[in-house]
Amino acid sequence: MSQIFDILKGNPDESDYKKKGVIVQGITGAYGSLHARNMLAYGTNIVAGVTPGKGGQKFEDKIPIYNSVKEAVDATGAKISIVYVPAKFFLGAAKDALESGIKLLVAIPEHVPVRDTLEVINLAKEKGATIIGPNTPGIMIPELIKVGIMPPMPFKEGNIAVLSKSGTLLYEISDSLTNAGFGQCITIGIGGDPVNGTRLVDAFDMVKDVPNMDGLVIVGEIGGDSEEILAQRIIDSGFKKPTVAYIAGRAAPKEKRMGHAGAIVMGTYGSAESKVSMFNKANIPVAKRPAEVPVLLAGKMGQSD
């Protein structure tokens, strides 16, 4: 099993198998509390909240709140934390988590300065931790654990891995996959920032050897070259499972940021054409519309049977 499944799901011999503890940083904020409730409703085992200055209180009368991640980890032993603090407080919150032994940090905030992200990535490397995000919808194993802000309806347990830069496109495409009978074994939101704690290629490495994964869907967008690098990795690694991609932003003008900080084409760097042609080289069909993704995937599945 891959390490990400060890962290999110665990192994049958562990007492917390399929109920790994999650800490919510910023649990008393409007956004954090809303999504903490949604995660609880989904079945995620939230074991602690963190809000500096509110230690000793309880969330929803049951989940203890601590002043720091260190206190929360000491009390619960949790290895996963999700951060909902405003962008300007992200650096401090992330350092607190990584220095307290958190191994999977899901960074929800949008608008985190790149230098802060770089600093957090460097610290995570030092500590052997994984960062998902920032500016991510999160990560989930459908019907088991959700560490993020995704609505539950689009997702269903199954055997397809979905990696996406965009949040709403992750929902949209997972929805059409689910409707076509393709459930998901894991979905990972990479995030829409220029620099990602987990790049598409890292996410691919996390899921590529998972035995129950039958197919891979990559949802990219203009900006940077992470899709190109992933396509190259797929070629080099000899990965043979049915794979389909979708790239948003073909019609976007150059040198304009299209909503996401990372969605910008500079010259030819980051263009949709460049990404599509690399996927074609890797023999990965690229859907023209989100609704076409399950159709192409079914085609690929048919070929490999």
């Binding site: 300007k88 608008h111 985190v112 300065p113 790149v114 230098r115 770089l118 600093e119 990535i121 802000i149 995704m150 609505p151 309806m153 689009p154 996406s164 830069k165 965009s166 949040g167 709403t168 496109l169 992750l170 929902y171 949209e172 929805d175 829409g192 220029p194 620099v195 790049r199 949802v219 967008e221 203009i222 900006g223 940077g224 070259d225 992470s226 690098i229 979708y246 948003a248 932003g249 073909r250 019609a251 976007a252 003008p253 150059k254 040198e255 304009k256 940021r257 299209m258 909503g259 996401h260 900080a261 990372g262 969605a263 500079m266 010259g267 030819t268 023209k288 519309r289 989100p290 609704a291």
Partner: protein, 368 residues
């Protein structure tokens, strides 16, 4: 945000990078005064936040007053890749020996800052030959690294010293102002072997703006852009006639692509952000009503937990308040969509089950 050349040069000057004398103007009257101060001959340069202005005729030599009166208005009225002149820069002419290329940028896939340098500058980066590429972590350039770059570029003596000095100042600027890209192209070797920045490109990390109040003066925003930002929207204005609204950058880009594939011309990209509320959709419609070229509005919302009735309320209110008088073609994924359709039965807003249907209707709708 991409700064204009004259703004980038203000920062270069502040950091001690060598520049030719230059003055910017926003009107021809100001330009005339600047011409007197600067003295002929000089170059007239259009200030736009995109590349390719030279090819578009946005850089003109100017020898005397007659030429000035002819060329200043020509340059001022140019459009480069859809961008009008934000200002005009007059700059003294340079007697140069050679053009180099130098930049520091955020390398997204390597996740560190990177130097690109070349002894063959003056052309667009894609065409710059013999690139020297050096990764520099968080952006700090040591004396040793700078010397290595100069050596690899084949520079010696005074010119090498100049390159080292410029590169270290560029690094300081990148770090202190949190730039994503700082580029000098060309960096010129002058007849006396000093080096000088003839052009400047500077892209900020907008997410770090809260730490840089000193950079606020470079923000040039239209009223619409300012209101969009206040509401937490992302807005990019385009030149077509169908406004595209949705929630989530990826979804709106995707809608833009599909609209273009079907022969529609997007008038804007408007991402109202993660959730959609009556207020946010109402404000989005208000902003669109201020764009005169718009003939129809295409709305693509993936609600998830959002109630489509809440969005329908925004449409109804916008028509009632006479905020909009345009047809709306919408696809609303979420709960209570039957109820929303019923609410909008007699209005100019139509709800479609699929985004494809909404797009086709919008393309047909604006033709009439």
């Amino acid at each position: 945000m991409q700064l204009l050349e004259y703004q980038a040069k203000e920062l270069f000057r502040e950091y001690g990078i060598n520049l030719l004398p230059s003055i910017s103007s926003k009107t021809i009257d100001e330009g005339r005064e600047n011409a007197k101060k600067l003295g002929f001959p000089f170059v007239i340069k259009i200030q736009v936040p995109v590349g390719g202005r030279g090819k578009a005729g946005g850089i003109q030599k100017c020898q005397n007053e007659d030429e000035f009166e002819l060329k200043y208005p020509q340059v001022e009225n140019l459009t480069v890749k859809g961008e009008k002149a934000r200002a005009i820069l007059l700059e003294k002419m340079a007697d140069i020996k050679k053009e180099l290329y130098l930049s520091i940028f955020l390398n997204r896939s390597k996740r560190e800052y990177t130097i690109i340098a070349s002894a063959e500058g003056g052309v667009e980066i894609e065409s710059v030959k013999n690139q020297i590429i050096k990764e520099i972590g968080m952006g700090n350039v040591s004396d040793e690294t700078a010397r290595d770059v100069a050596k690899e570029m084949g520079l010696e003596g005074k010119t090498a010293d100049g390159l080292v000095d410029t590169l270290k100042k560029l690094s300081k600027l990148t770090i202190e102002k949190e730039a994503e890209l700082v580029e000098i192209n060309p960096l010129a070797i002058m007849q006396d072997d000093t080096v000088m920045a003839l052009d400047g490109k500077f892209v900020t990390d907008d997410n770090s703006n809260f730490r840089h109040p000193e950079m606020e003066k470079y923000q040039e925003k239209s009223e619409i852009e300012e209101r969009a930002e206040k509401s937490g929207f992302s807005l990019v204005e385009l030149d077509g006639d169908i406004a595209v609204v949705g929630n989530g950058a990826g979804l709106v880009m995707s809608t833009l692509d599909m609209l273009s594939d079907n022969g529609g011309k997007p008038a804007c990209f408007l991402d109202v952000g993660g959730g959609a509320t009556t207020e946010s959709v109402y404000e989005a419609l208000t902003l669109i009503s201020k764009m005169s070229r718009v003939k129809g509005i295409l709305v693509n919302l993936y609600g998830g937990i959002v109630k489509t009735t809440v969005v329908a309320e925004a449409f109804i209110k916008a028509y009632q308040d006479n905020v909009i008088d345009l047809p709306v073609f919408s696809r609303l994924k979420g709960t209570e969509s039957d109820k929303a359709k019923e609410m909008l039965k007699d209005s100019r807003t139509k709800i479609y089950d699929s985004v494809e249907d909404a797009i086709n209707a919008a393309v047909m709708g604006v033709k009439n």
